[in-house]
Symmetry: C2
Subunit: 386 residues, 2 copies
Amino acid sequence: MSNIFRRDFLKTSAAVIAAAAAGGPLAGCAKKSGRTVRKDGKMVMKVTPIELKMRHTFTISGFSRDVTPSILVSITYDGVTGYGEGGLPPYMIGQTHETVQKFLSKVDMSQFSDPFRLDDILTYVDRIEEGFTCAKSAIDIALHDLIGKLLGVPIWQWFGYTASKSPNTSYTIGIDTEEVVRQKTKEAAPYNLVKVKLGIDEVTDKKLIETVRSVTGKPLLVDANQGWKTKESALDMIHWLSECGVLMIEQPMPKTVFDDMAWITERSPLPTFADESCQRLRDVPRLHGVFNGINIKLIKCSGLYEARKMIAAAEALGMKTMVGCTTETSCAVSAAAQLSPQMDFADLDGNLLIANDRFDGMKIVDGKITLNDRPGIGVVPLKTEN
Amino acid sequence: MSNIFRRDFLKTSAAVIAAAAAGGPLAGCAKKSGRTVRKDGKMVMKVTPIELKMRHTFTISGFSRDVTPSILVSITYDGVTGYGEGGLPPYMIGQTHETVQKFLSKVDMSQFSDPFRLDDILTYVDRIEEGFTCAKSAIDIALHDLIGKLLGVPIWQWFGYTASKSPNTSYTIGIDTEEVVRQKTKEAAPYNLVKVKLGIDEVTDKKLIETVRSVTGKPLLVDANQGWKTKESALDMIHWLSECGVLMIEQPMPKTVFDDMAWITERSPLPTFADESCQRLRDVPRLHGVFNGINIKLIKCSGLYEARKMIAAAEALGMKTMVGCTTETSCAVSAAAQLSPQMDFADLDGNLLIANDRFDGMKIVDGKITLNDRPGIGVVPLKTEN
C-alpha cells in the first residue's frame, strides 16, 4: 500500500472522527420533528418533596421507620403533565430531600424541545452526577408518563406487554413483635402472596415464620436483606424455609459476598434473587451464576428505561426477574407495575403501606396487580391538603 | 410449624400455580383494551415472495449470486397496513421461498385482536417452529410498522432514539476481479465508509485491499466471513489491516471457534465483531470476552423486538454494536435503520445493491443514514409491474 492513499485515508478518517465527536453525523442538519412535537416546545419540570406516613412502624434488617421521604417530579409539555416519583428510603444512602433537590436543581430540561428523545435526555441526566438514582427515576417516570399521554396509550401497551399477565403482588410484613406480626399477617388477607422480612438470627427468623404460619397458609416470599452470616447456616435456613411453603429467597448474604452466594445458589432448593447486589444494568451479567434472578427497583436502576434493559439482559442470561418498590405513593408503584406482565414475581405494595397516598393508580384486585387503561403510568393526582 | 398450616399452604400454592399455568392470573378477567384497539379488530396477514435482482454479481467468502429471494409480509388492521420483509440469502440455510411460505401458513394471526400485544404475538410466532428467523423478522417488522402507524410516530421515536444520531452506512464491495473491485470502489464514492469482504487467502485478501486503496483513502470495515484459517495468521492480517486504515474486523474465524477468537480479540489492534457467531439474544453473553462487539441483523435475530434486547444485553456487557442487513428492499433496510442511532457502525446498503426496489424509505444523504418522519418504519410501496 502506497504512502499516498494512507495519507488520504488518515485525513478522511480524522474528519469522520471529528464529526462524530461534534455530536453525531447529522448534528448540523435541520431535522423535522415528529407529529406530537412542537418546534417551540419546552418542558417545564417541577419538584415537590413529600413525606409519606407509614400505617405501621416498618422494620427490616437494620432499619425502623414511621415516615419515609419521597420526591415528586412533574414535567409539563404542550399542556400535558407527566408525573414521576422516587422514594427515598434510608438505605439509599446519601439520597435525602436536601441532596436530591440539589441534584434536581442541576437538571436543565429547557435544552430539550422533544420529550420523545428519551435516550438522550436520560443519558444527559445520568451523567450530571454519579448516584441519585431515586431522583433520576422520578424524572424517567415523569417522561414516560408524559410520552404515554402524548401517544394516548398506557406504558404497558407502548412496551408491547399484555396487562392481564401481571402477577400477584406480595404483601410485605416487617420484623416486629409476635403480636404485631400476627396482626399484620391478618391484614394480608386480601393478598395471595406474603413477603416476610428476615435476617436477624436463626431463632428469631424461624419464630417469625412460625408466627406468620400460625395465621396463614399462603405461599411466602422471604427477604433476608443481607442478614445471614455464613453460607452454611444460610443454606440450612433456605432448606427449612422451602419446607414451610416459601417460594423464593431474596439477598441471603451481604451484597458483595459473591463466592459464598454462588455456593448457596448452586445448592438452594429455592430460587435466589439479588436485591442489594443488583442496582443497575451493568450489575446484571456479573450476577449470572451467583443468583437465579434479580429484583429490579426503579429507585435503584434510575427508572423504566434502564429497567427494560435489565429485563433483556436477564433474559439473555436465563435469569428470573421480579419487580419491587419502596415506600412510595401510587405514582412510583403504578410506574413499576407497568413492567409486571414480564415478571416472575412482583412486590408492589409500597403504596399500601402508607396512610397518605397522593395518586389514584393501579389497583390490587383479588391479590393481583391490575393495570388500568389510562395513558402513561395510569395515575390521577388526588386532592390533598398541602 | 404445624401440619395444619403446611397442608393449607400446599393447597393454596397449588391453586396459584394452576392459575398461572392457565395463562396468567387475570386470564379470565374482562380487560378493556386500549384506545386504538377495536374489540372486533382482526389482523389480516398477506405473504408475497419476491426475487431481488442484484446490480452486480455479489461474491462473499463461499457464495456468488445474481438474484436473492425475499419474502414480504403485510398485516392489515382497522384499515391500516404494516409492511415487513425478510431477505433469504443462501447462507440462511433452509430458508427458501418454499419453506418460509410453509412456515408462514402455520401462523394464525386471527387469534389476536390487538396488534399492540407484541410480546405475546412474537412469542407465539417464535414457538411455532425453531428457526425461520427471516420469516419471523418479516412479521415483527410488519407489526412494528403497523403499531407505529396506529400511534402516528416513527419507530425511532417510539423507541426513544434521536434520528440525527444515525451513523454513516458502509457500502459493501464483494470479492471479485481487480477490475470489478476498482469499478465498485468508484461507485462507493457517495459513501464515507467502505466495507470489504475478505476471507479467501492472505495473498488474495491483501491484493483486494490494495486494489480498493488504489481508488480510495476512505476508512474501511472488513468482513472476513469466517474465512481465515489460524489465529496467528488472522492476527497478522488484522495488524496489517489496521495499518491500512481499517476501523474494525468482522468474523475473522469460523463461527464456533471461540477460544482462538478470544485470543485474537485480546491482542487485536482493531475491535472485533461477531456476525455468524451471533444470531439471537441468547448468544450475546457467551460472546463476551470473545469479540468486542456484535453485528445485529434482523433476519438472524427474528426482528426489532429481539434486536432491542440484544442492544441492551450488549450494553450490560460493555460490548459494541453494529446493525447489518442482507440483500433486501428498502422495507427491511428501513426497519433496521430505525436502530441505527444506537449503533457504533451500520452496514445498511442491501437496498442499494438491488435493481428492483419495492419501497421508498430511509435515504443515505452524504453517506449518512437519514431516517424520515413517516410513522412506522417510514416506507411507502412503489408501484411495480407484478
